[in-house]
Structure formats: C-alpha cells, structure tokens
Symmetry: D2
Subunit: 256 residues, 4 copies
C-alpha cells in the first residue's frame, strides 16, 4: 500500500501561496568563467514555486532532484531551462530561484604585478511564469576616500573599505567579470588580496587623488550603466564602513 500523499490533498481556505519551497541549501556548483571556462564554487540556494489555492502542499524533495541535475553547469544561459524544469516537476505555474556564490578572479597588483585571487559575491535571481525574469547581482569591495575630510584637513583624509552592490536586468548574455571591472573602474580604488610596498604606495596616492562620497560612487556606476544599451534596469548600492564611525554611510540609486 503506498504511503498517503498528504501534500496533494485539497485545501479549502482559498489562499494561493506566492512562494513555497526550500531555503538555505548549500551545494557545490560549477559556474562559467571568462578566462578558465568554468569555476567550482559553493552556492547558497533557495528554490520556490507558487501553489494554487486548492493544493495543500508541495513536494520539497523534487527541488533537490532538479538541483542535482544541473549543479555541474549553472549560468545565466540556462536559468530559464532550470526554472521550466522546476515548474514541470512540481506541476506549478511559476518557479523562482535564488543562487548566491563566491566567485574568484585573478588580479595583478598595480605596480609589481604580484598575483592573487580576489573574491566577489555573485547572485542570480530568476523567476519564470510565462517568461524568464532574471536579475544578476555582484558585490564588489572597493576603497573609498572622503572628499570633505580631504578638503578641510591640512593633511590626510579618512578612507575605508566599501561594498558596492549592483543588481541589473540585461537584454543579452554578458560576462560577470566585465560588470565587476566596470564597477571597479568607478571606485576610488580597487582592492587586492596581495600588495607589495610599491603597490601600497600606488593605491594610497591614487585614493588621495580620487576622493569620492558614497553618493559619487553610486552616481558614477549609474552613469556608466546608463550608457550600456544592454542594461534595462539596475539598482546600485554602496555601503562605506566608515573608519571614523561605527556605522556605515550608504547610498542607493535605482533606474526607473
């Protein structure tokens, strides 16, 4: 005798559920890499479907089965395919997936060229009802230096690590490495895991030469993305972990 399928029973409250599924799954995945073709990483994943009002529950194990089928190659190119597969297996009208993972890019120090691997956090957030809606996000740590502090002080200027988060919708495929490079080119200074003394001199002076408010960073990135016809929407945030306060300065600009 088969075990009773409670989830497929009827529900009479007439309330459709927008999202139901599994949250916080940790799984090893393989993603695309512009230089090395692919990159192994470890993702944190949420997978949801909508549930019509007449069904009591969803079948959670099927999400993991879909993840197993795709974990060896996940990219912006097959998110639609993954979401359609979830809709089929879960018999749902819409599916939603959120994938976050650390992504590493080899960087050369600006003077000595010393090489190291820099971590960026990436996000893929996809929804599919009739068609795919995909948001790609990256978090890029940079250095910022305060123009006010530089202007009013006889010497020095407070500076700090900042985190620039950019989310966007794009018309066609692009390399996440190119988006990261664009963001870094807008900041006061890139950040590197490995700097020798001549590099440290270079980044210190470059930061002092190029002061920016938290407002300037988000405007600078926005100006660049406004010029890119591949970008249909963006949200840009910068959080500066102020060296003179115990809180952050923050700015957000969203393309309407």
């Amino acid at each position: 005798m088969p075990l009773k399928d409670m989830q497929s029973q009827n529900d009479h409250r007439r309330i459709e559920i927008d999202k139901v599924g599994v949250k916080g799954i940790r799984y090893p995945i393989v993603v695309l890499d512009k230089i090395n073709r692919v990159q192994n990483t470890v993702a944190t994943i949420n997978m949801y479907v909508s549930l019509p009002h007449h069904f009591k529950g969803t079948h959670m194990s099927r999400f993991i089965e879909v993840l197993n089928a795709y974990r060896h190659g996940i990219s912006t190119r097959n998110i639609a395919e993954i979401l359609i597969k979830i809709k089929e297996k879960l018999r749902s009208e819409s599916a939603h997936i959120e994938i976050s993972f650390p992504f590493f890019i080899e960087k050369q120090a600006p003077v000595t060229g010393a090489s190291s691997l820099m971590e960026y956090t990436c996000h893929l957030v996809g929804s599919h009802r009739e068609k795919l809606d995909l948001i790609v996000g990256v978090e890029v740590p940079v250095t910022t230096l305060c123009p006010c502090s530089r202007e009013i002080s006889n010497y020095g200027a407070h500076n700090q690590r900042s985190l620039v988060r950019v989310q966007g919708r794009f018309k066609k495929f692009f390399w996440i490495e190119d988006l990261i490079a664009l963001i870094e080119s807008c900041a006061v200074n890139e950040i590197y895991p490995l700097l020798k003394r001549p590099d440290e001199k270079f980044v210190t002076e470059k930061a002092y030469d190029n002061p920016m408010f938290v407002e300037d960073i988000v405007r600078s990135v926005a100006s660049r993305l406004d010029l890119d016809s591949n970008v249909t929407w963006y949200m840009i945030e910068s959080e500066n972990y102020e060296s003179i306060h115990n809180h952050s300065a923050y700015a957000l600009v969203e393309k309407q």
Copy 2:
C-alpha cells in the same frame, strides 16, 4: 574662515539618489509596551533621505541629531513626526527610516504558569514624501510538526523550530503584542523560554494533535489577517528549520 561645505556643492551628472544616509547605527531606544507602558531596548537603525540631482552630498551627522531627539520614545505613533523632522533638517523631499529591535513579552508556561520573558524581533519601516507609508513587522518563533511525517509513520512525527515573519500596513494604531498573539494562535505551538515537565508534556501532545505544513502556517495567519479590516496589506513568511534536513522549508503569501 568656515570649513568648506563640500556636500552642498553642485553635481552635474543629473542623477537623483533614491536613498542616502546612515546604516547600521546601534542605539538604545524606548518603545511602547502594552502592559508596562514603555520598554527599553537596543535598536539597529538605518536613516535615509533622497538627494536631488544637483546636490553633491548629504550631511550625515544630522541623522544622529534627530535620533538623539527621539530615542526616549519611538513608536508607530510618532514615526511620521520623526520622518518630517529628518526631511526638514536634511532639506530633502523624502525620508526613510528602518528600526529593528528585540521586544520582550512575559509569558506563562501553559500548565504550571511558570513565568519567563520571550524575545520577538520587531521592525518599523517608514517612508515619507507627501504622507507616511509605514510597515510594521514582527518575527515570531513557533513550533511546527509535519502532517506528512505524522500520517505515514507508525509513531512520532518530525517537528522543529520555525520563524514566522509578518509585515503589514495598518489603518490605525494597534498593539504589537496583539499581532504577536494572533500569530502564535495560528501556529502548531507557541514557544516558551521556561517549561517545567507538565508543560513539556502539554506542548509535546499539543504539537502532535495539531500538525501543520509550512504552507498551513502562512495560510492560517493570512486567513486571520483577511478578517481584520485594520490591515490593508500583509506579507507573511514562515521558515521551518527542518529537523530532518540541513535546510529550511519556506512559504510566503502576500496580500495583493
């Protein structure tokens, strides 16, 4: 000679900033308490304004000055006043505030009546352009027990701690204690810091008598809020920290 005001200078990029301000401020505040009149707590606070495209920067220190003026009494009743004050001091057209804090309610164990203090995380999220838009949120930990596991097993049923998050918009003042009580009445079981043996027997049997999927919890809360004419919008989430998995089951329902 006064120090130069860099922030008030012109900016020529023609990009309005949606939110700019201070993030992650930790501050002691006093909030309303239905039983004890007021309660001391420690909040995490974000305060933002919009910045017209022609201004270069905002004056961050003024946010803290407003916070100083109001920290001895913050509630849903004066969020509008606080936001209007921010708009005035920062000379901005819109202001936004996010306040999160632990809130404690004294609870009696269900059989012995043994007393202890239960923590709930509360959120106030207010925006003001022409008028106030206020969202009130609470996070309520509860017990859940799986109906499928109970049905198919000869004995026992997996159960776990879950976190129910409810955000809502309301027409008029209400006590956050009443919203928490409503949510707890919808769950399999309330959670208590202090339970004696007769209480433990009671909550164990009550959970087994009252199994609920993660879908059931959000539907149950939604049904109750649908009946309350004071509620104009809600978003209800439940995250079940599954005892048989290392990830969560999750459901979300939003009032359209």
Copy 3:
C-alpha cells in the same frame, strides 16, 4: 502520579560532562553604569554546569529561574553569587556563565562637543568550582592608520575601522568605562557616532599624526595594562578591517 524524572536516572558510561546547559538565551538585563548608576540592555547568555558521570541529564528550566531572579541587577559584583545559586539549584559542583551585551557611553565630539551614544560590546565570563574565576571583556572600535603607507606615500595614508578586544582578570572591582577609556587612549583615534565638520578635521589630522600598525595597538594596550597592578592576566586582540584589502590584519598578545 508524578511525571517520571528521566534526567535524574543513572548513566553507566562513566563519562563526566564538563559543561551542560542552555545556550543563546536572549534576555533583558540591567547592568551597572558609572554615570547613570544603571543601564538597561539586552544580553545573550549561556549558562552551564558540570554533570557527574552517574547522572543522565540536567534540569534545563532551572537556569532560566536563576536568570529571572537576577536579571534586574547583574554586575561583576554578583557573578559569584549567581554562580553559587546555579550550583545549588542544579546540584552541581561547578557552574559557568557567559553574558554578552551592548553597553552605551555618551561621548562628546572632540571639537564641537556634540553629544551621541557610542556602543561597546561587553562580556562577563565566570566559572565557579571552589572559587570564582571571572574574565571581563570589552570590544572597542577605533580608527587605525598605517605607518608604512604614510611613510612611503607622497600624500595620504590608508586608514580603517579596527576592533580592539581586551579580556582580563582583575583583583578587585573596576568600572568597565575606565577600561574602555584606557583602550581608546591607546588607539590612533577614538570613534564617535556624531562628528561635525570641525570634528572631522580634527580626527583626520590626529589619525595622520599618529600612525600605528596592528602590532602597535596591542603593544600599546599591553604596556598600559602591565602598569596596572589590578590586572592579573590579559589577552589583547586587534582586528583592522583593511581599507586596501578584503581581509583583516590581526594581532594578539597575551600576558603569561
């Protein structure tokens, strides 16, 4: 018929348990304050006892009962009393408590005197077998500025927020406010929630005048504590959230 007391049954594996109890309790407490006599805060608390090898389990609810009895006044002065009470109620030979809480001190900005509240995280870690062993800890955010960067660069110097953590054993009572002041006096610069422009000029120039490696900070605090005969042991750590890297520089020195 009374409910069976499983915890008091015998265990035959002959393994004494070093610590057993409750972890991660969130509770509102009242602590001592040098200026205002007392301060309300919200603590995260762990409470443990040792368990002799012949007992099967401990009675977890009794920890919360002790906490209820003392939450209106917890300080270094009565930790011994609290631990003795735990030993009595739990019938154990040793007890252990860990209490962490945010503590706020009013600070005046260095030039304008503008006032705001600065958060410090405090820790009380007490053990009692025959007598009390008490460790007091504080976490103090400060500004640091790199001497190497300043020396090799034609202008500017990278600086950042750092967190100095000091734990100590002390012969007799002291005010935690005094320990915090000592640590702040050793750093490149204190941190303030609220700074006006003349203050920002002051702290920028002071930081540039007073560069310190992460090694210098821990040595500076150690030198000061070595002079204090009330201090019988210390561990000093500094973590600098480097503005030019995405990782921290870190140093630790422990009094032997």
Copy 4:
C-alpha cells in the same frame, strides 16, 4: 631608492606578540576526498606568526604568497610543510594557521537510496614552533529527539536539528569522512538533503525509537573516540536548536 621598510624597524616596548597576521581571507582551495581523490571548496583562512619583541611589524603580503603556493592541495598531510614555509618566509619562530571550509559527501537516502550532497563544515588548526600541533574539527548536523518528552507524553516527542562539533588530535592520518561517519552513527538520526516519503517514514520512526538528551550525544561520541587509539585528545560539543524553546540545549565533554 627603495621604499623604507617600516616593519623591520626596531621596537623598544619589549613586548613579544603571540600572533600577528591576516584574518578572514577567502580563497578557493583543493582538499583530499576519500572517494573522488580531491574536492574543490572555498575556505576562510587565518595565518599568523609570532613576532619577537625587537621587531616593529610583520610583512603581511607574504602570507598570501604562501597560500598561493599551496592552494591546489591542502590536507592534514602538508599542514606542517605549509607552516614551516610560513616561518621561513616571515622569519618567525612559530606559525599558526586556521582553515575552515565546507566539505560535501554524497549520501543515499536510507530506504529509496535517492542521492544528494550533504555539507559538513571542516576545520584545520595547526601551530608549529619546534613541531606540529594539529587539531582537526568537523561540524555534523543531526536530528535529536528528547527522551523526557517521549517518556512523559502520551504520544509524540519534541525533536530538532542539532549540530555536533568534534575537534581532535590524532597520531596518524585518517579520513575526515570516517570521523563524520562515526559521529553520525552516534546520533539519533542522520540528516539528508533529499528524502522521499518512505525515507521520511524511516527517519521519523528511527528518531522515536532512539531518543537522546544532548548529554547522551556527547557521551556517545566520547565513548567511541575513547576506543580509538589514534585519538590523543578530543573536545565534543552538541548544540540542540530546541523546537520548544528559542534557545539551544548544549553539552561539552573534553578528553583530559
């Protein structure tokens, strides 16, 4: 003219620093895998050396250079070699490394055999002065079910996810997969990412048949490790995320 080496200058405070270095580096590494030979993962790494009292500072960039040289193969077998290399490059008498990483093992569901990948957090903590001192740690999520709740209730029993952390010193090489299997065999129940209905029935009944206090889990693991002559020291912790409370039950036992 070479840039001045500030770090190599003299310091006159006569305070030796126990640990100084880099903290919180995120780096992709390759570790050993019993089934698949190697596994790609992303580590969080701290690397420190001791600093004699007469040196002002250490050279932080050299840590990253060592990490670059070894990241393609890190295991308990070459931690000593890595630490000796750090000592050489940093010209220090002792070196210390802490490496934490997610590690995935393929698991079959207990009845259907459905396959999925389960995450365990692993830690390697090595110090080297004259010789290597190495601690290996794993964190294993399991299910626990309360014996008291089962005994006193007419039906049901509260159960929850728990995290068992084991740290040990070992005489010779072992597979971390074997240590994880030993820990899972001591728990009420293993945890799986993917369970079908017959598996859910199995784990529900197995948990009810096999209740354990938090004290029982640590004693059970301790009994097993006491029988293994390869283990010279251990510390075993279990944290049960109680389904009836908002805090954890916790136990710790350490081999003397």
